[in-house]
């Protein structure tokens, strides 16, 4: 679930008030001025959304329970681009 984050909360989270307070306003998962599609869901649709969220959390928990050594490089695919000569 997205939760609108305040500058103060952001400051607490990143443990650096000055950096967080310097972030542009608003700090949120959605573009400014856009209503969340969630707001227009019916009761049944909200129930189904909640079910999806639970399924994703279960999946995340299963991965959290894995033994992953510190420093394990995530499997992103990325290649540095060298400057053109």
């Amino acid at each position: 679930m997205t939760r609108r984050i305040t500058r103060r909360t952001a400051a607490k989270l990143v443990l650096s008030a000055s950096a967080a307070l310097a972030l542009p306003n608003p700090i949120a998962g959605e573009p400014a001025g856009k209503a969340s599609p969630k707001a227009t869901l019916s009761a049944n649709e909200r129930k189904l959304l909640d079910k999806s969220v639970v399924q994703l959390r279960d999946a995340a928990h299963k991965i959290q329970r894995m033994k992953i050594a510190i420093g394990t490089e995530p499997a992103f695919v990325f290649r540095a681009r060298l400057p053109k000569k």
Binding site: L56, A59, A60
Partner: protein, 475 residues
């Protein structure tokens, strides 16, 4: 051989006839367009017919061949492309109602390469909306409606490359291009009884293709033989500087499709018997065991293989959910997601946002361990085989969460690790539905996969069967 009869053949069978001018590319394109217009429409396999472009490309092919400029085995062959590959000036709707009239100014790299090899684009083929990127629970989740299976029209062709599977099986096209993030080439290949190849991640460029999951999307051929898959892969594979994920090293002069030179008798083949439980169709099981015996009889060393206990499916779900929601963010925030057929797409963005950045990176770490696990498996085996799907083609009316309620570790794990895989027909149910055999290999080891697949098809007849023709409608 008439153009209509030729259309039932494979690329490898038809190409010499075109080269020797016994078969006209223009006549072949007309035959293909006629089938697409009738059978294709009735199967819901077509997104857009590309008649004008097809006739222009076919005429060019005919003139070039007449003047001695033969470009190779795809010259003059009609093909269809999944409707997520950009084609200049022709709608590319990604199977989604809100994007139905979307057009691009350039061809996708794969389309351009096929044009350079003289192939003739006859249709953009139906697909599940956004390739299932915001989830789907019914075969009807497409702007084209549900695509029927030509072997039984009350059954689904599978997705998301629905039209590519259905039209290749019904011989409406010489071959088709599909794409896979998790199962979208292999499942239609199994359900529709065609040969389909999911290439190594990064082998085939995605420039001009819809992005669902940047770290998992692959583009590959679907055809009526393994040899045809090899020919098409040879045309579309290879580095593309415009695609940041495109591999520099592609495993050989034909980009992973190098002609098989090694002896398949030296291969070590691991058999992954799925723990599908009750959902494992007994007819699929019987056909698979017969295929194992057949492969064993061809010479390779065959023994049981076991996948480690890792959260394959969960990792794939998290990564695809998050990347899909990011890919389609403009549709989500604009509210146009509500125009999609799948009701769940409305809240897919909110669901995806419940996954934290940490969870996503952890999933990517898990993915690294999954890659390592497969590398260890491939120390012992050269190839893995398994049923492509544990079930027969699902009824069109069935909810997919019910039909597909089983773990798919080789499917999810293979895609997470970027491994190439092939599906070939290995039998039929008593009711006449195709059954697929999956062959998985090391990254960039397409040549070995194709060698085993070709050897299997040289010794079996399953891939030669064609679905029944629909009765002609009265005038």
């Amino acid at each position: 051989m008439t153009p209509d009869e030729a259309l039932d053949g494979t690329v490898a069978q038809v190409a010499p006839l075109i080269r020797s001018r016994q078969l006209s590319p223009v006549a072949l394109a007309e035959a293909s367009l006629a089938r697409l217009e009738t059978t294709g429409r009735s199967l819901n396999a077509v997104a857009t017919l590309t008649r004008e472009r097809a006739m222009e490309e076919a005429s060019t092919a005919e003139q070039e061949i007449a003047s001695g400029r033969y470009r190779g085995p795809l010259h003059g062959i009609p093909y269809g492309a999944k409707d997520l590959l950009a084609t200049k000036g022709i709608p590319t709707g990604w199977g989604a109602r809100p994007l139905k009239s979307q057009t691009f100014e350039e061809d996708a790299t794969v389309i351009r390469r096929l044009r350079e090899d003289g192939a003739v684009l006859v249709a953009k083929l139906a697909m599940i909306e956004l390739a299932g990127g915001l989830g789907y629970n019914t075969p009807a989740a497409s702007s084209s409606g549900a695509t029927s299976n030509p072997w039984d029209r009350s059954r689904w062709s599978c997705g998301s490359s629905s039209g590519s599977g259905s039209s290749t099986a019904a011989a409406l096209v010489g071959f088709a291009i599909g794409s896979e993030t998790w199962g979208s080439i292999l499942c239609p290949s199994a359900f529709d009884g065609v040969s389909g190849l999911r290439p190594t991640y990064g082998l085939v460029p995605r420039t001009g293709a819809m992005a669902l999951s940047w770290t998992m999307d692959k583009i590959g051929p679907m055809a009526r033989s393994v040899e045809d898959c090899r020919l098409v892969l040879g045309a579309i594979a290879g580095h593309d500087p415009a695609d940041p994920s495109s591999l520099m090293e592609t495993g050989g002069p034909e980009g992973g499709a190098a002609p098989p030179t090694s002896d398949a008798r030296a291969y070590r083949v691991g058999v992954v018997r799925p723990a599908f439980g009750k959902i494992y169709d007994r007819e699929v099981e019987a056909a698979f065991e017969e295929a194992v015996r057949a492969i064993s009889g061809l010479g390779p060393t065959v023994s049981d293989a076991k996948l480690p206990d890792l959260p394959f499916d969960e990792t794939a779900v998290l990564i695809i959910t998050v990347e899909g929601a990011a890919a389609f963010e403009p549709l989500i925030t604009s509210g146009r997601v509500r125009e999609l057929v799948e009701p769940g797409a409305k809240w897919a963005g909110d669901a995806a946002r419940s996954v934290s950045g940490v969870d996503y990176v952890r999933a990517m770490q898990a993915r690294r361990l999954i890659q390592q696990a497969f590398a260890e498996i491939f120390d012992k085996y050269d190839l893995l085989i398994s049923p492509t799907m544990p079930i027969l083609a699902a009824p069109l009316a069935e909810k997919l969460e019910k039909a597909f309620a089983y773990a798919d570790p080789l499917g999810s794990g293979g895609n997470l690790a970027g491994l190439p895989a092939l599906s070939v027909p290995c039998g039929f149910s008593k009711s006449g539905l195709p059954i697929g055999l999956q062959v998985v290999g090391r990254p960039l080891d397409e040549a070995r996969i194709l060698t085993l697949g070709r050897l299997y098809q040289e010794n079996t007849e399953w891939h030669r069967r064609r679905p029944p023709r629909a009765p002609a409608k009265p005038a």
